[in-house]
């Protein structure tokens, strides 16, 4: 075990875990922030997506010891204007069905809009195809991203 201090959502969280622990479990079990989900554990589904220094990152494939002082944002701390627009569009279109994958979907969608203000369908597909939804809400996900982009135009 080793002590790490993680910067999550603007707050310092001390966690005492094995250095090889995936960041996902340091966030969930160490910091007690359970909005970030475990889906596959092998970077194939996107449920564990967080932002590290603004970049979309699968928290299951990154050891906690490799994070350092970089800034982590989880679904609980998503407060950028793009993040708020995505969450508003998600609610307006009623995107989730079972909801399990949705925190990862929202994190990836926000990272997309933070870098691309007017994504095409192709841009959305390339950015979001690593986030799997067993309920197949993909059509609503794409519509919500376009709606969020439109709401940010003015």
């Amino acid at each position: 075990m080793a002590a790490f201090t993680l910067s999550i959502n603007g707050q310092a969280h001390a966690v005492d875990v094995d250095p090889d622990t995936p960041l996902l479990w340091a966030i969930r079990d160490g910091a007690g922030l359970t909005g970030t989900k475990y889906g596959c554990g092998v970077a194939q589904c996107g449920a564990c997506t967080v932002h590290i220094d603004g970049q979309s990152t699968r928290s299951c494939s990154l050891p906690v010891s490799a994070v350092g002082d970089r800034k982590i944002t989880t679904i609980e701390g998503l407060s950028s204007k793009e993040g708020r627009a995505v969450q508003a569009a998600w609610a307006a279109i009623d995107v989730p069905q079972c909801g399990y994958c949705q925190s990862g979907q929202v994190m990836s969608a926000t990272a997309l809009l933070e870098q691309n203000k007017a994504p095409t369908d192709r841009d959305v597909d390339l950015a979001m195809n690593g986030n799997i939804c067993r309920c197949a809400t993909y059509v609503r996900i794409r519509a919500a991203i376009h709606q969020a982009a439109k709401s940010l135009e003015g």
Binding site: P22, G46, S56, C60, S61, D123, N129, G130
Partner: protein, 216 residues
Amino acid sequence: MSRVRQAVLAGFAGVLVASLVAVAGPLLPGEADAASRAADSTQLRPVSDFAKIRDKQKRAIALFEEAGKVITSPRCMNCHPAGDRPTQTDAMRPHQPLVVRGEHGLGPPSGLACTTCHHQANFDPAGVPGNPKWALAPLEMAWQGKTLGQICVQIKDRTRNGDKDMAALVHHMAEDELVGWGWHPGEGRTPAPGTQKQFGALIKAWAEAGAACPKG
């Protein structure tokens, strides 16, 4: 093909090779080792094995064909795709999830970047490989779908090899960290044959012998 069937066929192939070596008659000291290395796809023959080839061009070609065991291994080929999408596993299937090269081989700017999942080092608990230089080889360095001879011509071509002269090419093969990942690919992946040092020595000897390429 099932693993059991593969194992049976591999065993049969091993017996066949052993039988052929046996019926070929007694070998001189050292020849048995060389024959064994030649038959083992996980190893590389040392440069000294090629010294007896007097013809310089033939020696260069033989050296490159040996180095080609590395170049054509899935660990190298997977990130030298002919299209926009890398492949993965020893079967070289399309990368899952769908990723594309983007402008610099790192994924599209607002899309799924390599670094979304791949980090500074292999992370075996998640089975995800990593390296500080993780990226696709540029399109002009595509190897998939090409013969070893075509790859050989391509890697000597400064318009398609990152403007490397022969010394820089040898250094790249022998020393580059991402090339070196091929021999340390993490749990569950078959490493490239031999070692990077042996591979570098073969490429250096090939260059010194005139860098001739296999035909075809």
